[in-house]
Symmetry: C2
Amino acid sequence: MKKVINNANHVVHEMLDGLVAAYPDSLKRLPGTTVITRSDAPVQGKVGIVSGGGSGHEPAHAGYVGRGMLDAAVAGEVFTSPTPDQIIEAIKAVDSGNGVLLIIKNYTGDVMNFEMAQEMAEMEGINVDRVIVNDDVAVEDSTFTVGRRGIAGTIFVHKIAGAMADTGASLLEVKAAAEKTIVNVRSMGVALSSCTLPAAGKPSFTLADDEMEIGIGIHGEPGIERVPLEEADRLTTILVNKILQDIDYEQEEVAVMVNGLGATPEMELHIVNRKLSQLLKEKDIAVYKNWVGEYMTSLDMEGFSVTLLKLDSELKSLLVKDVKTIAFQV
Amino acid sequence: MKKVINNANHVVHEMLDGLVAAYPDSLKRLPGTTVITRSDAPVQGKVGIVSGGGSGHEPAHAGYVGRGMLDAAVAGEVFTSPTPDQIIEAIKAVDSGNGVLLIIKNYTGDVMNFEMAQEMAEMEGINVDRVIVNDDVAVEDSTFTVGRRGIAGTIFVHKIAGAMADTGASLLEVKAAAEKTIVNVRSMGVALSSCTLPAAGKPSFTLADDEMEIGIGIHGEPGIERVPLEEADRLTTILVNKILQDIDYEQEEVAVMVNGLGATPEMELHIVNRKLSQLLKEKDIAVYKNWVGEYMTSLDMEGFSVTLLKLDSELKSLLVKDVKTIAFQV
């Protein structure tokens, strides 16, 4: 295993230290926790927004903490849900009396632990609600999931909910905006290689040199099928068609994300986006705004995902509202 | 070889198409060229700034085109200098009568081709000047270079020169700010793996499973030595010490960049930054501002570089001046 680490058991702790050392003006780490909050949390008069999940998906989620997006991100161990005691620290730190929304990717462990934290916080008198993101159209049910998995579409949920919270909306209104995003967002990915967890020291699974896996999960969960290597245009077409079979976007306006899974050069993501923009044009789908880069990774996995979000005028205005985070800009 | 491409001979063309498809409001491609400019180029009353180089280093350089940074970026084939005829198109496109500064990374081919384009543009009556970035302290002279190589420190030169140009400064003043940055910036990198050029289809060189190369160039040029795998803290210390042997930063204020070479998870870059911030503190060097991410990559190479820029009050104010690009924010 070749990794730039010290001790595999300390990677999350050391990563979080390095992160706040880099951005001390905008981020802080709650002492003794794996929680990163805005340095000015709690923000008065605003619903607090908390997300999180296993580590190894950077910049998710701490990269999305900042004005107009998340108030806090909770990091679990690598590919492991954060524990309820950590999540409740995040909830307390960002509640200014206006309530807190939890944005949860649909993995059984995440859902269980965030819900438990919600109950504990409510017992302490904090108003908490939650949404569950399940944008991955590849498979129903999976290794760690009942229902569909939550992947890169989660970033759009962060953005829309964060923008809505910034307007001074109520917890119910912020939740409604997040739910509307979830209803309208779909994603799917493909992997060309496995990834290696620091503590395991060897790839989580193997793909032959001439093989790729369509519909892979961001923890390497099985996808739809393993197929011989395809060229970029064909791969992009497979992902887009699967998404459009699931939801009809024709004559609609969409936001697009082409997301690298960790080890894929940016050059290749742009080549994907070229074909993607052609396909959408052919299908009479207008692109309102586009993101190409690494937003929800899987350690050193090679591959990418495509996300489409159907927009109405409300979602459009929230999507481009001013934001200040490390990893997302408009 | 596993790459998300169609035809290895078309990767640059297709990448540039995908890029402008993603950001049509801010970027445009000059028809029939590999030049990306600001969509509003030429900007009246301002010195134009042009950079570029071989492709495969994305987001360099098109990711830095935008308000407050570059006016145009010229892309060569993968790891190959752009040709003078392409560079001169960029110069013409961004000149508003106030002259154009070329920011060149120190590789023999780049220097030769940019200089040739400068001469051709001057014959057409355009006022052109140039600076050459040579921030890599690893080695003197290299496979493609006489003198030191230019690597990630180039991004700081883009930023400072771009900010100075935005003040309405003259070409001489913009050049002076760029030169001051070059004098004060130092970088060094390490690779854990090789990279694979699309057209070659196999790694450019090989590193054994238990080996890394200290001081590698961004095209895989030989570094100082191959050593057994080291932990992150030790690696960071080696790079920082080599930089600080070259220039005395003690009791100074610096800007810091921890740059991933392409396939290194962001988690690991933050672990490097943790140690780096500790080392600088021990040496009584204050960090003014910090960037951690992928800024100057080498396709799918695993590894990272560290860049330190010594600041004075002028450089500080230019460094944090407002900027609007895809890949660099303050």
